[in-house]
Symmetry: C2
Subunit: 237 residues, 2 copies
């Protein structure tokens, strides 16, 4: 019935390889509880650019990203698009205020996610207190992230915003190191995340490169040369 095994620390179907997150859905759950979750989950496989869920569609499930990278986006009537976050293995998405998703989630790479039907999931949050707590922690974390983004968009220049992104990726993306950060998202995605245009993103990257703060071996890969300065520029404190 369960072709997969539950692991929380290491890479696994429900837990995740994303290591640096203190806000994990499955944190501090015992074997039995994990088992209960596994039983109501269903694996969803996505290829690049496919949607895990679409804005305005009926909010029937919540999801836990198992592998791959995705983004959360919100598109307004007049077509303007805001990327709200990039998400990684172990991240949890799908909660809404209403009965429809207020945002879309699109895979940037091939990806897999475990889907939980809402009623069943909600039931488990009632019977497993720790799970409810984890959800609350995740919510607080999401809010913290949103406030960080508010700060950046309200206060920072293009190059600083890019540095903020780099710092975030270093903290959250599984395989990212200062030596090599793979960028699975397009320049347009970055622009829509940071409230800029593609051209400005490209130029700001060129400037950071010419200032020797970063290198850009290929368009999809950057190296942080001066981590101190990049951190300083990207800092929100």
């Amino acid at each position: 019935m369960m072709p997969y095994k539950l692991i929380t620390q290491a890479t696994g179907p429900l837990g995740s390889s994303s290591s640096r997150s203190e806000y994990a859905l499955f944190k501090s759950l015992n074997e039995d509880e994990l088992q209960q979750l596994t039983e109501v989950s269903k694996l969803k496989v996505l290829s690049q650019k496919q949607h895990l869920l679409t804005q305005s569609s009926s909010a029937t499930h919540v999801f836990n990203i198992a592998s791959g990278i995705a983004l959360i986006e919100r598109i307004s009537m007049n077509g303007r698009r805001q990327v709200l976050a990039f998400i990684f293995p172990g991240d949890f998405v799908g909660l809404t205020q209403s009965d429809r998703y207020e945002y879309g989630v699109k895979a940037l790479t091939d990806a897999t996610a475990y889907a939980f039907r809402k009623p069943e999931f909600r039931g488990l949050t009632e019977t497993i207190p720790q799970l409810k707590k984890n959800i609350a922690d995740i919510g607080a974390n999401v809010l913290g992230h949103a406030l960080d983004q508010v700060f950046i968009l309200g206060q920072k220049k293009a190059e600083e915003r890019l540095c903020f992104l780099f710092v975030q990726l270093l903290e959250r993306m599984p395989e990212a190191t200062a030596e090599s950060i793979q960028l699975p998202m397009t320049r347009q995605d970055i622009a829509d995340y940071l409230g800029l245009t593609v051209e400005t993103v490209s130029r700001a990257l060129a400037k950071l490169k010419s200032d020797k703060l970063i290198a850009i071996p290929t368009p999809q890969k950057i190296t942080i040369i001066d981590l101190d300065k990049v951190s300083e520029l990207g800092d929100i404190e």
Copy 2:
């Protein structure tokens, strides 16, 4: 952080007159439960420009605004200031992720608030399930507000941002009508909320005025002349 709408139906020590909120801390609580809350609350009286709580101070209380208007602000090391929200009677503030407030709350007018010591408040959330649910709802609402702000800051121009503020004030400020919106905050507060400078705010107001979308009888009072256009410009959908 952000507006935690909290209101009972009637005006009283815990709730108050602000009407338009669906996210009430005291929603669906019975008399006895309200009584328990009242017993652990303590009135705090503030005059204009005083702080209800200060950033980085020990997070000992949560608060329910009873009267007056305040703002939530976050100031970074390098002195840059971001206003996160304007809050009104019935709003709830003081929840944090850490043991210190990550933001400050400053009164824009003379104001009063009911204070709850955290341990006691937390105790009540355990014994009153509906209270816990209300807190969760409020959190979701706060997140929604933060995401709106992200959208505005990422996508909109100065005049549109101002219209967004007007729409928000119309929705949330107790006595605000299209005919008359009192602005208890300074231009600097508005600028720091919308990610602009005072000068840009002043000029954008002048432009909206010359375009006959609004009138500015006094610097602290505006009138919406063309509500449709203002709503359209300020809309985030």
